[in-house]
Amino acid sequence: MENQDRHSAYGLWLREIQGIGTAAVLRLFDSYQKNREGRKEKASPYDLAAGLEGSGFACALYQMGGRDLAGLTREAFGEKGGEKYMRLLLQARQRDPEKALEALQKKGISYVSLEDPAYPPRLRRIQDMPLGLYYVGRLPDPALPCAAVIGARIPDAYGREEARRFASALAGAGIGVVSGMARGVDGIAGRAALQAGGYSLAVLGCGVDVCYPQENEDLYAMLQGRGCIVSEYRPGTKARPSQFPPRNRIISGLSDLVLVVEAKGGSGTLITTDYALSQGKDVFALPGRITDRLSEGCNALLAQGAAMALSPRDLIEYFYGVREEEEKRGPGAPEGLSDLEKTVYLALSDDRPMDLFEIEESIVRMTGRKTGTGKLLEAVMMLILRDLAREEAVGTYCRKRDRRRD
């Protein structure tokens, strides 16, 4: 078995002991290191997490003589606690770590533990980092800039379109898109990033072999091939409400910044931004109208000092600095449209779906003339065919911005 797999196998073994979490492992490791280095003072969790990399600590716990183990646990947890952890470890030592890893790999799932150098470095630096991650697909390159794109589970047309536009632009600029594969904004962002040929990673609140929500089955399949699905929960774990808030710390932990597209006041999305701020990540929010309930959360974030995301360029500049070649384009319709089509294009709104009656009214305001319903429908259809408009719900239409402008 290769060295990397050894790390993984013992790391997995340690992870799967019921009753021992990150904090306990770090405490054990602290005592272990103190003994070996003759150090007196307690080390910080961050130093411990860094020290764990390549240490072979899990392997040592597995192979350590009974008396040494008893001494170690007593030192770390005191008389009473030490006995409990000692028992847990001894019981667990009866299992074969390598077999467990093999079984996991047979299901196509990999595991990366804190001891593994492949453990995402960003995550190693957060508080309460997971002991390890189960994953399917390809973990992000440590050098890849990543942005989390998150938001409401039930967005409106504005949120849907902007999630799509931002994620697609970020992916196009070589920035990874991290999300929770939830309904709504998360799923749309992940999908858009992959469709733009970029990298996307989803952190699940259930096992990596469970597709939740079901309706994102397509995204789930795409992520396996071209992105990554990670979770700190054991495969087969069902989605439970209590598991989602903790997974949000991984979403923000894996990203350099967090973009909130749409969120109601008190939305679960705001848990992620809290984590992001405590982890020292920047939060961007998309402004909305103050009367839109779906923008309450975003606007509140902006009021508290979040960065304003006015266009994907704002985020791209955050990563790469200002680029020069951006050309300014004035408002106006694209070339090659008939007069009526141009008028309709200008009358449409980017994000508020309008029905024919509203479009007609808007045209009357602009030109003072009425257009027949048939002609109007014809023009709208033409714009849709040329990818300059889209039908939101039945009979309501939005303008699609010229792709070249982002």
Partner: protein
Amino acid sequence: MYSSVISAAVIGVDSCLLRVETDISSGLPIFSMVGFVSGEVREAEKRVRVALKNTGIQIPPSRITVNFAPADLPKRGVILDLPVAAGILISMGLLDQKSVEGILIAGELGLNGEIRPVRGILPMVLRAREKGLHTCLIPAGNLQEGEAAQGIRVVGLPSLKDLIAYLKAGEEDRDRLYPPGHTDLAERFSQAEGPGRDLPDFEDVIGQTAARRMLEIAAAGFHNALMIGPPGTGKSMLAKCMPGILPPFTLEESLEVSSIYSIAGRLPKEDPLIRIRPVLAPHHSITPIALTGGGVTPQPGVISLAHRSVLFLDELPEFGREKLDLLRQPLEDREITLVRQAGSCTFPCRFLLLAAMNPCPCGYYPDRNRCRCSESQIRKYLGRISGPILDRIDLCTQVASVGAADLLRPEKGESSARIRERVEAARERQRDRFRGTGIRFNADMTGTMVEDLCRLGPEEEKIMESLYEKYHFSARTFHRLLKTARTIADLAGSREIGAGHLMEAAAFRVGERQIFGH
């Protein structure tokens, strides 16, 4: 003595003449009826016996045999009371066999001898006229309905006594007893404009640009249509406006539809011709039988009553998959065949299906400030309508809520009368196109006819290709699109289907757009 009287039976929407043969001969006093008769026909014996007694005629104790020919046709209902009574009277020698030659007799008897109204008179009288009979003797309560048939003498009789008096009278006395009706059908039809004025008019509909246009196209080519929109936006109101833009019934159509109503016993008494195309709007709790027709004696269902008119199904998904799927075959075949123990019968049901539904369970999607339905909830809701039903709907659009400003200062829309002018012109074009094919509307074109009659120019073909690329049409959708485009071209008075007509048809199509905007 032997006698024979003509009556009729109703099978489905059709009627068939029957011969009621009666024989009275000496022997043990027995009253026997043969000829595939059901319970209520057998009961005629008791009613006839008592009714005759109360009219002052005793049936002698003798062997009475009544036969209904043809014997292989099932006989149901109470209309045979009167012909049986007449047959017995002739066999007893009280009436002359010659007095009933060429006369159809139908009606139910009361014990006191009165003649009560029955169902299905109109199709019977029509059949009698077709078979060359000269007179129909029917219950007085059905007289108006019978007279609607025209071209045959129809006499409404209040009681058995009057029947005897009429049959005893000579030819010239008969007309004096019951002067022939003077109602002229053409005249009655011209009055039909009158009640039309009470119909809801499109000029009272505020906004709804797309829905108006869609209903105009639907009316012109008899296309099935679907309206999607939040509660309270006027979907039902729009449906009620439909009769106002549909051309009124022709006499022939009216008789066809009125016959169905007659069989269902639903003809209005005072004005027994259906002239305005009704909008039938069954509630979604309707039973499958009431919808399609059925029962031991097959009765027409709502879909047949909506023949040549509008069947409006509000809250379409609430009807449930089971009932909606029952509509699949009638939508395709334009008639429904009910097979029951008593035999099978066919009712026509070429109706215009106009459906309405909310966009999601709460009704407010895509207004996310109000709608709280998740995408999966919306999908589930829409999934209650099966694909095959959607496949038979040619047009679909949204019905939006109208802003307060427009409600307060409503701008009058185009009136129904003006829309109807265009619809009638488009119908005229279709009549010319389909002359001699048995098809009346663009929506009814077969696949080969579509290929033949909806040829596209090179520019239009290019548009069709790009539409195809964008939406991945099925062949069926492709044909539906062409049929709709044909109607739009007809409305515009154009011989060829232009690019614009195609685009408009595509804007109204049903399909993936019905589900969602992504």
